[in-house]
């Protein structure tokens, strides 16, 4: 095993184990900090697919924005939650858990089967791309290419996303305003 494989496997295990721990812990604050670990590990995995700009965006948007928002929301709404947690463990193994677990495992099985299938017989477009030499190489300047394509070929999705961001901004501001002063 070379260095690359070892780093990939450690990042993948960090992501998956932190995610499993995240959904099984009962303390919400710890879960949110584990989410931090998952996001960093997944950003590291993006680097292995030669998507450096996406990895940086992930760290900036998710860790810098979304996680802080979630911590704020947690701290603003946790008083009742702590009381619920202390009140009892009656719901510790609730019905939804043993219903949810088989559903999740079934999804996992189907997707693992598909992934291994894709690994065995490669899709024809990937083979064609490898033969044509249009695979992204480590030396390519991804940021420049992404900028050019965003402004030319993907201009319509870019505009749609910007309109959606504005809608989300207005909607969030509307929801967060005080009751009464409409």
């Amino acid at each position: 095993m070379d260095m690359q494989t070892i780093v990939f496997y450690s990042l993948a295990f960090a992501a998956v184990f932190s995610a499993i721990l995240l959904v099984s812990l009962r303390n919400i604050a710890r879960s949110l900090f584990l989410f931090f670990v998952v996001l960093f590990a997944v950003a590291g995995l993006y680097l292995f697919a030669l998507a450096d700009f996406v990895a940086i965006t992930q760290v900036m948007v998710y860790v810098g924005g979304i996680l802080i928002l979630m911590l704020f929301a947690f701290m603003l709404s946790n008083r009742e939650m702590f009381r619920q947690l202390q009140r009892g463990t009656a719901h510790f193994i609730a019905i939804p858990v043993w219903q949810a677990l088989p559903i999740a495992i079934l999804f996992l099985t189907v997707m693992l089967y598909t992934a291994l299938h894709v690994g065995r017989n490669e899709p024809p477009w990937i083979t064609a791309s490898r033969e044509a030499g249009t695979v992204i190489r480590a030396a390519d300047n991804t940021v420049e290419q992404l900028g050019v394509h965003t402004m030319t070929h993907y201009l319509l999705p870019f505009e749609v996303v910007s309109v959606l961001l504005m809608m989300a901004l207005i909607g969030a501001a509307h929801l967060a305003r005080k009751e009464g002063d409409a």
Binding site: V23, V54, L69, S77, Q99, T134
Partner: protein, 101 residues
């Protein structure tokens, strides 16, 4: 050598864990974290397949759009959760059963 199967397997795990969080957790914030995990798994697949498309960079471009969508969704959802908490004094989705008080 890191093949595409490696990425797909990690993505499958993350997606299933996110699905479990959405289905089983009793806290709206953790349900949201589960949705984010599933979006991250999808982005990982986009990026992994996008590696074989250096003419248009489709995978990476749409990964960026997906990150933007996730951020917008989280902002609105957290505003809704805080409002729901103000009204019902709980963020457990099972206790929130009425649309109008």
């Amino acid at each position: 050598m890191i093949t595409i199967t490696h990425f797909l397997v990690v993505g499958a795990w993350l997606f299933s864990i996110g699905l479990y969080a959405v289905l089983a957790r009793r806290n709206a914030i953790l349900v949201l974290v589960g949705i984010e995990l599933m979006i991250n798994a999808a982005i990982l697949n986009l990026v992994a397949f996008g590696r074989y498309d250096s003419s248009l960079y489709g995978g990476q471009a749409f990964a960026l759009f997906a990150i933007v969508l996730a951020a917008a969704a989280v902002a609105v959802a957290l505003a809704i959760i805080l409002n729901v908490y103000k009204h019902h004094k709980t963020v457990n989705p099972e206790d929130i059963s009425d649309l109008k008080d």
